[in-house]
């Protein structure tokens, strides 16, 4: 095997490897709410020095660990796979752990607020129960009939590819809480639940598609979607959410999936 000429570094690699961190001063403008202190939410500014290659989550930790321990937010994995830290950063839903300071114009105050449409419990923490209830309502599990085979069920790579995109969902709620229909009517299933229904409706092994489609044919189902593409823009996993919803709509009309 040939040895690549590693001397020819790209500028991007050189930049990534430059050890020296140059700190910049940023203002984090955070929407704070704690019912134990006040009934009102308010914006509070925090100034901190941070390497622009760090994440917004790192900035939030700096505030919590060095300035104000009462700041409250959820987080776990810190690299975009657990879905804990969806929040509204500069007016857009993102994961704090997948958003680097340098990518969001640190010249101006960075606004951080909870995702919309779900009750705020404290600071950036919202009540996730309605979100998970909508998920559970679409029967998000494989439904099969008859006897189980001894070995695995067969599925061609093409059939597997059919629903690959929607298996990426991490249930962070960035999509659902970016949807204007969901903001106005919390009864709407929301994009994340539909994405997870899609994941099973288009799985060749599943035999519960009709049941799920009936659930989504409900007045609070897929027909509420106004195709604003907010969900697709918001998805930190790059799932084509609106496309998935459209595919479910089409399946409802044609009953083919």
């Amino acid at each position: 095997m040939s040895t690549p000429t590693l001397e020819k570094h790209s500028d991007a690699l050189d930049a990534a490897e430059s050890g020296a961190s140059h700190l910049i001063t940023v203002t984090l403008r955070i929407r704070r709410f704690n019912s134990e202190v006040s009934d009102e939410a308010n914006w509070i500014d925090y100034q901190l020095d941070i390497d622009p290659k760090e994440r917004v989550l790192d900035a939030l930790h700096k505030v919590k660990w060095e300035i104000d321990g009462t700041l409250t937010f959820r987080r776990s994995c810190a690299h975009g796979i657990c879905g804990s830290d969806a929040m509204r950063i500069n007016g857009r839903n993102r994961l704090a752990c997948k958003t680097l300071i340098k990518d969001i114009n640190p010249e101006k105050p960075i606004t951080v607020e909870p995702i919309k449409g779900l009750t705020v419990l404290k600071d950036l923490v919202v009540d996730m129960d309605p979100f998970f209830q909508a998920y559970r309502d679409v029967m998000p599990f494989l439904i099969t009939k008859g006897n189980e085979p001894t070995r695995e069920r067969l599925q061609s790579p093409e059939d597997r590819e059919r629903f690959d995109d929607t298996t990426k969902c991490i249930l962070c709620a960035a999509c659902t809480s970016s949807c204007p229909v969901f903001w106005n009517d919390g009864q709407y299933f929301g994009p994340a639940a539909i994405v997870n229904a899609h994941r099973f409706i288009f799985d060749s092994r599943d035999e519960g598609g009709e049941q799920r489609l009936e659930i989504l044919n409900d007045k609070d189902g897929v027909w509420r979607c106004r195709t604003t593409f907010n969900c697709t823009d918001a998805c930190p996993r790059g799932i084509e959410v609106t496309k998935a919803i459209q595919e479910v709509k089409r399946a409802l009309i044609t009953r083919r999936f």
Binding site: L6, H9, E17, S18, V37, C77, H79, I81, G83, S156
Partner: protein, 584 residues
Amino acid sequence: MQIHKYDTVIVGAGGAGMRAAIESTKRSRTAVLTKLYPTRSHTGAAQGGMAAALANVEEDNWEWHTFDTIKGGDYLVDQDAAEILAKEAIDAVLDLEKMGLPFNRTPQGTIDQRRFGGHTRNHGEAAVRRSCYASDRTGHMILQTLYQNCVKEGVEFFNEFYVLDLLLAEVDGVQKTAGVVAYELATGEIHVFQAKAVIFASGGTGKFFKVTSNAHTLTGDGQAVAYRRGLPLEDMEFFQFHPTGIWRMGILLTEGARGEGGILRNKDGERFMEKYAPVMKDLASRDVVSRAIYTEIREGRGCGPEGDHVYLDLTHLPPEQLDAKLPDITEFARTYLGIEPYTDPIPIQPTAHYAMGGIPTNVEGEVLSDNTTVVPGLYAAGEVACVSVHGANRLGTNSLLDINVFGRRAGIAAAEYSATTDYVQLPEDPASVVVAQVEGLRNSTGKERVSEIRNALQECMDKNVMVFRTEQTIKEAVEEIAHLRERYKNVSVQDKGKRFNTDLLEAIELGNLLDLAEVMAISALARKESRGGHYREDYPNRDDINFMRHTMAYREVGADGTESIRLDYKPVVQTRYQPMERKY
């Protein structure tokens, strides 16, 4: 304070906890307590696959898998347990497929398999395709599939309930399981869960290191709770450093990248693993590869201005292959390093990844209070436990396997136990320890901050007990940890409230990390040999005569209240494989 009553209580809702819950909910009234939401658990971060000798793409069998697991663990593996792991792997994978897991497929439609470190054909001849995978998000798919099936089975979850104590009660001279005590994060309320059986499945403890692939929430909670109740911790000196973490950040880049053909290179572009592992090369076991990387760095062949990392080179692989097989990790490189893995090598360094040790159990998941005695009603499975199927070094893809095989076993055993036994009476004032702990921290006026002590602990652990250890570095760690434990007594929190007090939560987590760091360092100091993930530069060879045995660490409290650690040892179960020199 609320009191709840369940037959079976499961602590933790990652892979092991949910796999157990699926079994125990069918057989007993079960509650699952998790300090997160189930789908936030760190099982979801696992990438590369789950080992099982399905032989879908080439000849393979569970006996070879057993051997690889034992050799991978540098012969500290209990061989009866490894045999169960490898045998039951096949059904564990098939069960997940039937639950709906979207594995990648072969052209024939069966589950596809790929190569992984240390997994070989016919006892080390060459790499074998044994890892069943779903792109590079196998753990994510396992976590999602198990949660989906928990929804299907109607498993009862208590989300954001943090378990702070285990209740044991003496019945006829025997310590039996009575329940657990939990802190409800949303309200600050204390809950007592009376239970006939308790399963700990609360995950690892990697957060005592700074550069780690572990989530912020992996703070050894289950291990610490059990340890404080007088139960031993087994083999805590064995911690795995995964070779390919993103430089400085520690974010995991799957071994599957090397399984797909990725190559490690030093600053000269040399494929250095050829020197260290002539047969398996980049797919040698993780301890071997991590040591090789640090050897390259120490000898001046590291990359970058400070020569403190090496490269994971994927540039020779077709972009279509990267997109299909490794989409997440290539995206991590783009997001966090701003580089393009199609054309740039990825700067990496070993990252603290996995605790081989933990709460000792037998193969049914029953927790042991010494080398042989079972604690009736108490179970553990997954990373929190030590069966021991991983010995001194776990093979890649064997942890997703472990949580499924032993999660299932623990779930069945616990539920069957609860079906045939009565509740043990709760101790008087069952929440007293937890109330004292929580209120003590909330009301403390001490001047120490959680973040400062935690940073100091992480720096100390990275410096002294990482890939290379000596008596001197471990002693430094022991001293520093003792000092930090003193400082911790004066720790205080700024948030004095009841609702979602994560400031308080982090303080409790730090206490757990400090206890476990001390156990790790003391266990490492006493093990004067090198084996698997525990490498002593002052004792570079494996010493089967003196150290072919598991470490058992017990917390001792003297009459004057002083704490110390007592070490004991437990024999390794050997069945058919005699220890040999380990070469890859």
